[in-house]
């Protein structure tokens, strides 16, 4: 049976790599986080396109970019940045937050 799991995995991998190649060139939107606060707190992007959020953590301390609306959850080390691929999204407002500072690190992504 383990063999079967491996087979499924091996079948899925080339598909995944193929899909990854197709998404190389997308527009970038900058999002900074410092001391538990996002800047800007409202990010706007057009509906129907893929883009990536370049989340830069100025520190101090690690931050986790998290959003249940967007199904993303990723830790950003202080002094570093990560790319979060998003979209195409339906028009609307999507809440995101920094899970390591949930009281202050709040923001939203507006898609229109």
């Amino acid at each position: 049976m383990q063999k079967r799991f491996l087979m499924v995995l091996m079948a899925a991998l080339p598909l995944a790599l193929f899909a990854g190649r197709a998404m190389a060139d997308v527009s970038v939107i900058q999002l900074n986080v410092q001391a538990g606060r996002f800047n800007p707190t409202t990010v706007t992007a057009p509906a129907g396109i893929k883009f990536k959020l370049h989340v830069n953590n100025a520190g101090p301390g690690a931050e986790e970019f998290e959003s249940s609306d967007l199904n993303r959850e990723i830790v950003v080390a202080p002094g570093h940045s990560i790319d979060v691929f998003l979209g195409p999204l339906q028009p609307g407002s999507y809440r995101f937050f920094g899970d390591f500072h949930p009281d202050t690190a709040q923001g939203r992504l507006v898609i229109r």
């Binding site: 995995l9 101090p60 967007l70 790319d83 390591f100």
Partner: protein, 273 residues
């Protein structure tokens, strides 16, 4: 204090539940001692891997390293889901045999493989959320007294252990057949949640498209981002605003599980013979 306690409880509850339920099942199958040893070794390994992952996250130098780390963490989710599914299906078969009064036909080698599997599941369960928890506690705890940090951490883990104890105590009272059905479903639900998280992670890395995002939004009913909703989300794979890709992966997972279950079920005629 309160937030550290809650976060530690929330992050450790899944691992503690999975490990607790697995142990209860293995004990009931009579495969207890060696499996227990492997699982504790797995927990210890998982704690070490958590520390290593936290350190790796802080030491990331460039985009490429960050991406490798994401691949590794995503791989951990799929590996955990596959191991857990395989283990549950094995236990279901074993449980059926024991119930039918058949001699357990597992050779030592097969049993050993399952013990190691159980250890690996424990390792991955602990390491998956462990790294983030270490980073969180490290960040929030900076500038606080050691006791002020250690106390809520210990309390959070204790609370998770208590929850798991209550659950496994509750299911232990169940009749043999229902017991394996209930625990099996609980563990498979958790595995389906791992698959969904893994797929969401691949979408976030730009590896998979979201297709339609979101397909629906039930955040008003039960928000998978906070409180009870977040715990239900990690335990069942529920998401309040999933992408189509995530929904498809969840459905595919269950189709594969049902297919694998059916394949190993004896034909009705053979069962009565």
């Amino acid at each position: 204090m309160g937030s550290i306690l809650f976060i530690v409880w929330r992050e450790s509850i899944e691992a503690v539940l999975v490990i607790g339920i697995l142990l209860t099942c293995l004990n009931r199958l009579g495969a207890g001692r060696a499996a227990r040893w492997w699982m504790w070794a797995g927990v210890a390994g998982g704690l070490m891997l958590s520390g290593a992952l936290a350190a790796a996250t802080m030491l990331v130098q460039d985009e490429l390293q960050g991406r490798s780390l994401q691949w590794f963490q995503t791989g951990m989710m799929f590996a955990a889901a596959a191991l857990l599914t395989q283990m549950v299906l094995w236990m279901q078969r074993q449980g059926r045999k024991m119930k039918a009064g058949l001699e357990a036909d597992l050779t030592r080698a097969v049993a050993r493989r399952q013990d190691i599997g159980a250890g690996l599941i424990a390792l991955l369960a602990v390491a998956r959320e462990g790294g983030e928890t270490v980073l969180y506690v490290y960040g929030v705890g900076a500038g606080q007294s050691t006791l002020g940090v250690a106390l809520p951490v210990v309390a959070g883990v204790a609370l998770a252990l208590l929850t798991a104890w209550l659950v496994s105590r509750g299911v232990r009272r169940l009749d043999y057949r229902i017991f394996f059905r209930v625990t099996g479903v609980l563990l498979l639900l958790s595995a389906s949640g791992l698959v969904v998280s893994g797929v969401a992670s691949l979408c976030g890395m730009g590896v998979l498209p979201g297709l339609i995002e979101p397909v629906w939004n039930t955040a008003g009913l039960l928000d998978s981002g906070s409180g009870l909703g977040a715990i239900i989300a990690t335990l069942t794979g529920y998401r309040s605003s999933p992408s189509l890709t995530m929904v498809l992966s969840w459905v595919t997972y269950w189709i594969v599980v049902f297919w694998l279950t059916r394949r190993h079920q004896p034909a009705p005629a053979a069962a009565t013979a």
